[in-house]
């Protein structure tokens, strides 16, 4: 057993893993010229193997992915400490450094698994209590009958992953069922008569399927044709798209009062993450350098209202000065609409603190080790030098 561990502890494995890591990072960087970062990240770094696709579609693994290398590195490190490492004070620097690196790797894994990124886009004077996903969408159905209080509406949300062509979506909690006729990940939209949908706004929109967007700044415009089914009866076919600003509506008989009807809204929209508080944009400031378009500074003045925590205050979010609230961090990310709209990036990352600790550890360990070495070397050298002179 010890022998096997010792084999695993070899520094040669370390070197090979480091060089493989470099090849992976290099390939993952070059890949970004033709795909968005998040895609490259998934293929190269958040994977076990990186395949290359031949023309006929067969995948050949060419590089170990980020997870594989991470695991080997961690095992290699642990084995080294279990077997060959000499536990002396002189070597404590190395130990501290490596524990920091371990923490860095684990922190990155946790971030990959658990962090959620979204954004809040606020027009001047607008208030929102949710942030939206950059890439994920959801199909929602809302009971919007007049007797329902707008603030306590029930929203049924169906994630985009369920919207596969041919899927049937039924759930006893849902007032209706959906039959997904066709899901189109990205499309160009134009005005015109579309014969396929039989109900709703989509009848006046023609869609042209398009390849997924390449840049990181753009968003796919997803579209879906769904049949809405109530009590086994098809109410009609709707075309829904994230490009539509508002929801579509339809009425169903009220089960409690057969003489009345209930109004439901359906909408395909960016996935929303609810916040306990409301953010309202009071003012967006954007200063540029005189005579140029180079931004000098931009910042958002916001009003934060949290009825549960009894908070009602104004605050400013600017570049390098985020707001931390409710376990999330809000950053000034961008602006749009002729400086009338601010875009805040929202990040929830439970592992955010790990890299900080890791960095302190590695820096301490490395400085300890190298500086001690350097001093030893320098002293030896000065001794030699004086010997020569003498």
């Amino acid at each position: 057993m010890k022998k096997i561990l010792k084999k695993f502890a070899s520094l040669r494995i370390t070197v090979v893993v480091l060089i493989a890591g470099m090849m992976l990072v290099f390939a993952g960087t070059l890949a970004q010229t033709h795909m968005p970062i998040r895609e490259a990240q998934k293929i190269y770094f958040q994977s076990f193997v990186v395949p290359v696709y031949l023309e006929d579609g067969t995948a050949i693994p060419v590089l170990p992915g980020g997870y594989t290398l991470g695991i080997i590195m961690v095992l290699n490190l642990l084995c080294a400490y279990l077997t060959t490492f000499r536990w002396t004070v002189k070597r404590m620097g190395i130990l501290i450094m490596h524990s920091g690196i371990l923490m860095l790797l684990i922190g990155q894994l946790f971030t990959d698994l658990y962090s959620v990124e979204s954004y809040v886009s606020l027009d001047h004077g607008q208030a929102k209590n949710y942030s939206e996903s950059f890439h994920k969408n959801e199909l929602v159905i809302i009971d919007a009958t007049e007797d329902v209080d707008k603030d306590t509406q029930t929203v049924y949300s169906i994630p985009q992953s369920k919207l596969k062509t041919g899927n049937m979506i039924t759930d006893p909690r849902l007032p209706v069922s959906f039959s997904v006729k066709e899901f189109i990940p990205n499309a160009h939209l134009a005005r015109g008569q579309n014969p396929r949908p039989t109900r709703g706004f989509g009848q006046t929109v023609i869609i042209q399927p398009a390849p997924p967007v390449k840049g990181d700044q753009q968003r796919n415009l997803a579209c879906v044709y769904v049949d809405v089914i109530a009590d086994g009866k098809v109410l009609g076919t709707w075309l829904l798209s994230t490009a539509f600003v508002g929801p579509d509506k339809f009425d169903l008989p009220d089960p409690a009062h057969p003489e009345k009807t209930r109004t439901y809204q359906i909408h395909l929209r960016p996935k929303r993450y609810m916040m306990p508080m409301t953010l309202k944009l009071q003012e967006f400031k954007h200063e540029r350098f005189t005579g140029t378009n180079v931004p000098m500074a931009f910042s958002s003045r916001l009003r934060l209202v949290d009825p549960i925590q009894h908070e009602d205050r104004e605050l400013t979010i600017s570049m390098n000065q985020p707001l931390r609230y409710d376990g999330k961090t809000f950053y000034q990310a961008s602006f749009a609409n002729d400086d009338q709209t601010t875009i805040l990036q929202v990040v929830r990352n439970p592992a955010a603190v790990l890299p900080y600790i890791a960095c302190i550890l590695v820096t301490l360990g490395m400085s300890w080790h190298f500086i001690a070495h350097f001093l030893k070397f320098f002293n030896k050298f000065i001794k030699q030098d004086t010997e020569v002179k003498a």
């Binding site: 060089i19 960087t29 010229t33 820096t363």
Partner: protein, 620 residues
């Protein structure tokens, strides 16, 4: 022995300082013959607001000329003309300046498009006039493509279009290009408005249409220029002459700077240097012109320390090489002193630039080139101090010289002191993260340069002794340890900055990956050395490969033009980068050629001669 050595040092130091100061300060102390020529020094010191920054006119001239022409001077009728004189010609005598061949067009597709022929790379504005519409149409077309998806031709045509636009803006900086006596026209306009304010009843229809024509003209002028000559008045910021004159029509009292600049223009047209010099002196005496940083920048431009350091580095290299060849002690000392003088010039230039900017030294690629070179030379000189074998000198000169050349080429894209974008606007992070990462680059290049020297000595010169072989190994090992420390700490600080401003510690962005590559490579070198996978020679080869990796991290990722860090985007240098990497690979190949002496890596191991191939595991 010791006395003679210090004497030698002292003598050569004094001699070199004397030479340097006479050559650098000669220009500064030279007094122009009064009124026989314009006082260029004074003209160049005029403070103007241009692309978001208050700067001397001299900087406007130099950066515009470098951008349009790719050179510091332009040849006119066989005589070279400096940037400021060219700018004055463009602003004051555009009809003459239009015939100077300044527009650098080296893209073959554009040459073909404009049917310019290939005999010359530079073209005059007059020659371009028939093609202006085509250029603008093509540039417009290219602009509809997202910036990082444009091909070489599209980037080149947009660049040419921008150069033509900036040239036209310079022509209209003071007065409409066709105007002969703008001073009189402006004075008349101001007088007319004044009299009308005093007595509004005098207003006739003719006057209204006259004022309307003036207004159109001034609006046009404001649009066509981008040098802000008129100082702040009340709540107004620095403004263009056209902008200011439009306000004069609305009743704002005319600022004297307009008249002075217009008079200078007229006098320049007439060759009346005396009037120019009086006007400039008067202009520089106004309160708005009391900008010590601007004056200092003009002087900084004239002294061009960062350019002048280059020949000193080259000289230092030559002297050190000769000293090593003939093993002459005094020459070696002289060499060291010359290198120190070069570093002093470099340091002074760097510090001066920092003071003018009011920023840490690295805010753009230009700054990084200057700083990487500086950091590397300092490190190399520390090695020289320890080992006194001339190798530090050589490494310092190689890196100092080449980074300053790179910096010079980077300066061709315009003013190198530019406003800092909002995302970078944090002196704390610019100082910690950027400087430490940059020092990591520096140490990688020092290690790489030593690797190159190793190959030359080991394979070509074959002049290693056991001791010097091992010593060199220790030098590179030590430097790589520092490179590891700097690049790791710097990268991690970058992660923390990113976490603070973008909400993620690590995003696999190209620039971050570039830094990570350096960290991983250093870790690989060190671990390979520790486990005996490589010996001294293998480590040297890895250090040379480190040059490629550092160069990729520094420039390659900028050439990709993607990611959040792509503020330093650049074109055209790609071939150079590839060439550099190939040259390094050739050195590695030479180094692996089994002709050199193979030395034990440890002096105590004298009797263990290793004849085994390099880069293979040592068998215990």
């Amino acid at each position: 022995m010791n006395i003679s050595r210090s004497k030698q040092t002292l003598m050569s130091t004094m001699l070199i300082i004397l030479c340097m100061s006479t050559s650098i300060f000669a220009q500064e102390t030279k007094q122009p013959a009064t009124n026989a020529t314009p006082d260029w020094k004074a003209l160049g010191s005029i403070a103007v607001m241009h692309s978001g920054r208050l700067k001397p006119l001299d900087t406007v001239a130099r950066s515009s000329m470098l951008m349009i022409c790719g050179k510091q001077t332009v040849k006119v009728n066989g005589q070279s003309m400096h940037a400021l004189e060219w700018l004055m010609q463009v602003m004051c005598k555009p009809e003459v300046a239009d015939n100077y061949r300044v527009f650098l067009i080296h893209d073959p597709d554009i040459q073909a498009l404009l049917q310019l022929g290939e005999e010359d790379k530079r073209w005059s504005f007059t020659e371009l006039i028939p093609h202006l519409q085509l250029i603008s149409a093509q540039a417009n077309e290219a602009q509809s493509v997202q910036s990082h998806q444009r091909n070489r031709y599209q980037r080149a045509i947009i660049e040419l279009y921008n150069h033509v636009t900036s040239y036209v803006r310079l022509k209209n900086a003071i007065a409409p290009e066709q105007s002969k006596d703008f001073a009189k026209q402006a004075q008349d306009a101001a007088a007319l408005v004044k009299s009308l304010i005093a007595d509004p009843d005098k207003l006739t229809d003719d006057m209204v249409s006259h004022i309307n024509i003036l207004k159109k003209g001034y609006e046009n002028l404001a649009q066509k220029s981008n040098i802000h000559f008129v100082p702040p008045i009340g709540e107004l910021e620095w403004s263009r002459i056209g902008e200011h004159m439009r306000l004069v029509l609305l009743g704002l009292p005319m600022d004297d700077s307009v008249i002075r600049m217009a008079t200078i223009r007229k006098a320049y047209r007439e060759g009346d240097w005396q009037t120019i010099n009086t006007m400039v002196t008067e202009h520089l005496a106004t309160p708005a012109q009391q900008q010590s940083k601007v004056r200092s920048e003009a002087m900084f431009n004239r002294m061009a320390l960062l350019v002048n350091a280059m020949p000193i580095y080259a000289l230092g290299l030559v002297v050190t090489l000769i000293a090593m060849m003939f093993k002459t002690r005094w020459m070696m000392i002289t060499g060291t002193v010359i290198v120190l003088a070069a570093i002093a010039t470099h340091t002074f230039g760097l510090g001066w630039r920092m003071w003018i900017e009011g920023r840490p030294p690295v805010i753009n690629l230009y700054g990084s080139a200057v700083f990487i070179g500086w950091g590397a030379t300092i490190m190399a000189m520390v090695l020289e101090k320890i080992y006194k074998n001339g190798l530090g000198n050589i490494a310092a000169c190689l890196i100092g010289f080449s980074t300053l050349i790179i910096a010079h080429h980077l300066s061709l894209s315009g003013d190198t002191i530019e406003p800092v974008r909002a995302v970078l606007d944090s002196n704390f992070w610019l100082t910690t993260h950027v400087l430490i990462v940059t020092l990591g680059y520096s140490s990688m290049f020092v290690a790489g340069a030593l690797g190159l020297i190793f190959v030359v000595r080991d394979v070509i010169l074959r002049n290693f002794t056991k001791q010097s072989y091992a010593r060199m190994g220790r030098m590179v090992y030590g430097i790589i340890c520092f490179a590891m420390l700097f690049s790791f700490v710097g990268t991690v600080l970058g992660g923390i900055w990113a976490d603070q401003s973008w909400g993620r510690f690590w995003g696999w962005d190209p620039k971050e990956n570039g830094a990570l590559l350096i960290v991983l490579w250093n870790a690989a070198i060190l671990h390979a050395r520790w486990c005996g996978m490589v010996q001294v020679r293998g480590m040297m080869m890895m250090a040379i490969l480190g040059n490629c990796i550092t160069a990729f991290s520094w420039f390659g990722v900028n050439m990709m033009g993607v990611g959040l860090h792509s503020y330093g985007f650049m074109d055209g240098a790609f071939m150079w980068l590839i060439g550099f990497c190939i040259s390094q690979l050739i050195f590695v190949a030479i180094g692996l050629f089994p002709v050199g002496q193979t030395m034990p890596d440890d002096e105590s191991n004298d009797n263990v001669r290793k004849q085994k191939p390099i880069l293979l595991p040592r068998q215990d």
